[in-house]
């Protein structure tokens, strides 16, 4: 073993505290150090994941107190997979934005990389932690980094988007605290596994009300339908890579939180159906909102929200197949949507409002970026032989096995809508004449590398899904086994 899960939090924090000092020594360190930290985290997570897949979950204790007392971190196949994904995406985002910000002054650049690193750390913390209040703290870390990153560009309407995000985030933390306190007042503990083991002693009313508050609070971060007003704005106004970070990292962590609550902590049977319901509503509303968008990033944002709705539907099935499909979709969505955000932000690089019509005819000027965008578009609507197909197939198979024909039909109809708006953009890129005002910007070398990596991943998963399904199966089995989780945490067989 190379390290322990706590290093996922401590190393970035140390780095974050160090960065202001390092910035005084040599400015470039401000950019480089977060990348090194992320690379280290990736190595660590891959190693730990390997270990976990063989030997079972690692439960890390903090401050030497056994789990019901102290805070613990759980690195299991499920959380480990997500952490690896998140860190990997984070590293790619770092590489992508390494030179992206060169035209920006030093002061904000320093903050950008620091905040990006903390955004990732917060998400990792949400995934790893085994304590509900600790999760609240990490949600706030993620949130504040998110607000600051959204408001990064002073020239745009970014402050508006950020304020909306903050407003909802602040209401979310209120509800989260209320929910935590209701739970605490009943079981006298904050540890997830302990709560889960004592859940049957709680009166159903309290259970339900605290669940409602939880789902509202985390639903705001996870962009479920009536709570996601902030999301399109934030995605649109944040810098391109940050949009990808929201789609690829923050939402994943929040969905993880929801899933953890539904699967492990609470034992409400209606919660699964509720996930399906809310997921479907989110899916439909988001995809229909996306079709008439005028701005590229906004369209991508709505599409991302819709995809997360689909993920939630898959989680709501409550079967191992469903979880497998959901994880597969999370993986694919992270890869593909990041690719779309990355390539999309170069397609409308020099534009102020990022209108879709400004991508017209870009294929002649940015051939590789356009090709990758088209690849991403094809993949995300689930056309074989690209990555999106396998996750869609597994999701539909899982739905069919749960006898949810209506849902299958609905999901497929919505997919047609999705197809239409993506194709419209791709057609514009390839077959329209360039608008006069737009100035294409060649992607920088590192951005190109990142995009090509993602594109290659799409193809690899598309042609050889077995590369990833083994881990996914173990991860989904891990999530389904609630008793094992409780046992692992509380009895600490380390």
């Amino acid at each position: 073993m190379v390290g322990t899960p706590v290093l996922f939090i401590v190393i970035p924090l140390l780095a974050a505290f160090l960065i202001p000092l390092l910035g005084m020594l040599w400015k470039e360190l401000v950019r480089i150090v977060p990348g090194l930290v992320l690379a280290y985290m990736l190595v660590l997570s891959v190693n730990l994941l390997n270990h976990v897949l063989i030997y079972g979950p690692i439960v890390e204790v903090i401050a030497g107190w056994r789990p019901p007392l102290g805070i613990n971190l759980v690195f299991s196949a499920f959380s480990g997979f997500l952490v690896t994904l998140v860190v990997f995406m984070g590293l790619l985002i770092w590489v992508y934005s390494y030179r992206f910000k060169r035209n920006v002054d030093f002061e904000p650049a320093k903050k950008y990389f620091l905040l990006l690193m903390m955004l990732i750390t917060g998400s990792v913390g949400i995934i790893l932690t085994g304590d509900i209040f600790n999760m609240f703290v990490f949600i706030e870390i993620t949130g504040i980094s998110g607000y600051a990153l959204t408001a990064f560009y002073t020239g745009r309407d970014s402050a508006e988007a950020s304020f909306k995000y903050l407003m909802l985030g602040s209401i979310a933390s209120t509800f989260l605290l209320l929910a935590i306190m209701i739970i605490y007042s009943q079981v006298g503990t904050l540890n997830m596994a302990d709560i889960a083991s004592k859940m049957h002693t709680i009166k159903p009313v309290y259970k339900i009300i605290s669940f409602i508050f939880f789902i509202t609070a985390i639903g705001i971060e996870a962009e479920i339908f009536p709570l996601n007003g902030w999301a399109p704005d934030a995605y649109t106004e944040a810098p391109g890579p940050v949009g990808a970070a929201f789609a690829g990292i923050v939402v994943k962590a929040s969905v993880y939180a929801i899933v953890r609550y539904v699967y492990t902590i609470f034992d409400l049977s209606g919660a699964y159906d509720f996930l399906i319901l809310i997921g479907l509503i989110t899916l439909i509303m988001a995809e229909t909102a996306a079709i008439r968008q005028e701005r590229l990033k906004r369209m991508l944002a709505y599409s991302s929200i819709g995809q997360m709705g689909l993920v939630m539907v898959a989680f709501g099935m409550g079967t191992e197949e469903g979880v497998f499909a959901a994880l597969f979709m999370i993986l694919n969505h992270a890869i593909i949507k990041s690719l779309l955000f990355f390539s999309g932000s170069y397609l409308v690089y020099n534009s102020k409002h990022k209108y879709i019509k400004e991508v017209n005819g870009m294929s002649k000027y940015l051939p590789i970026t356009s090709l990758l965008f088209a690849l991403g578009a094809f993949a995300i609507v689930g056309l074989p032989p690209f990555a999106g197909f396998w996750s869609k197939l597994s999701m539909l198979t899982a739905a069919a096995d749960s006898n949810m024909l209506f849902i299958i039909a609905l999901v497929l109809i919505v997919s047609v809508v999705e197809l239409v708006y993506y194709l419209r953009v791709v057609n514009r890129i390839y077959f329209f004449n360039k608008e006069e005002k737009t100035e294409p910007k060649k992607p920088t070398f590192n951005a190109l590398i990142v995009m090509i990596t993602l594109g290659a991943l799409i193809l690899v998963i598309g042609f050889y899904p077995d590369a990833i399904t083994g881990i996914l199966h173990k991860a989904s089995a891990d999530l389904m086994d609630k008793g094992q989780y409780i046992h692992d945490v509380l009895s600490l067989n380390k």
């Binding site: 939090i9 505290f17 202001p20 209040f133």
Partner: protein, 231 residues
Amino acid sequence: MKKIIVIILLGTLGFYTAHTFFDIGFGFPHFEHGIKDVYLQKTVSDLKVSNTVTSIVVNFRGFDTLGEVTVLFLAVTALGGILYKRRHEVGERSVLFSASSIVTSGSKLLFPAIILLGVYVFIHGHLSPGGGFQGGTIIATGFLLMLLTYENYSVNHTVLSLVESLAGIAFAGIGLLGFMHGGTFLQNFIEPGVLNNLFSGGVIPIIYIMVGFKVGAELTGVIYTVLHEKG
């Protein structure tokens, strides 16, 4: 119209929330075998810290505190980022204006006292109410007083971030030392000593002092950043 809808909504929300909490009840223990009993017991027996809240904040749930100082740290960073302007964009108007001489000399007198109080509070965090947060905030109020009274009073930004960073690194570093000594992060690896002594509680007072420095520096940073924002 909107107001009425909101009132109805909030009324419903309030009804359910109030119903729940009234039902939970006030002023008596709600549960058995909670973690608090263990905390209350272990804080005396194992940690030798008389202030249980301190032992929870710093040791049992020290990880939260680490996250929390990070939140503050991020808030300072975020403030700088959000309020950042290019040089030529900075306006002239300042929110500050000079105070009368009574106030200035009074503040001059008060300032050391406030700082001293703050230091006292966080040094005695493990013995009496108070600790790093409280002490840190008190110190920040001291600086706030100076910033408000003296128009040209400026905190050395480098020193501020140096203190902030070093305190943060020390916090995390002590945690890592615990990791190396005891096997878990933030482990109390120093002999706890005797209850109610100033030098007791192992690393807890050290960490809390670091937290105090960090919080003080961060809050001062927040105030400083906002205060020197020129429209």
